[in-house]
Symmetry: C2
Subunit: 131 residues, 2 copies
Amino acid sequence: MFADPQTAEDAYYDAFDEHDLAKMMSVWSDSDEIVCLLPMLPAIKGRAAIERAFDPVLNPESAFDIQIKHLHWINNNDIAIHLVEEKISMADGPDQFVYATNIYQKNANNSWHMTMHQNSPVPPPPPPEQS
Amino acid sequence: MFADPQTAEDAYYDAFDEHDLAKMMSVWSDSDEIVCLLPMLPAIKGRAAIERAFDPVLNPESAFDIQIKHLHWINNNDIAIHLVEEKISMADGPDQFVYATNIYQKNANNSWHMTMHQNSPVPPPPPPEQS
């Protein structure tokens, strides 16, 4: 039960920290009309396919940290759209930045759940100035 | 005046075919709270910045064709979300495929306008089978 879209979003990102696939799947709507677009993967549709895609990502041995910054919100009574920047830090290598659009819908029980997630890469930093 | 989200979306893609920046900007909401995420560019916010970004894309000399395939729709009375696959064909080089999420809102005059657009790359085709 998520009383508002932000509570659902907090649980979504907590699921990464906690490697908790059940928590992740509790955030997604209980519907096969849900879609997830992860970087460089084909569109993933439906609960079973999304669960399979997140299983390796939430593996206890995958060590990364995601911090998010809100960029833009759109919402009305039963749809909410959050555009965020995700900063993904790994033990090795530089931080990665991606844009994510998280779309939530309120269900018949007044609980908010994710119905669509789309990531897209942020551009690399500009090259050093030419002289 | 766009009576429904699909009419606005048709005008958005027609603007590319017709190299028509005014038509493109008529599709976007008359608000500075609009956001456009084009491939490998920083998030673009507000009408003036979006117009500057589309100006070179709609240049009469830019020769490409976009065909779209609808993948998923979410909507209620005043927000509509269309996930489409864009197939971009250029004179030179292979076709490019990108996912696009087009988000529309109905304004006080019952006209539907784009409030957010996000592109993300579709994965490249799989490598030849290893044997």
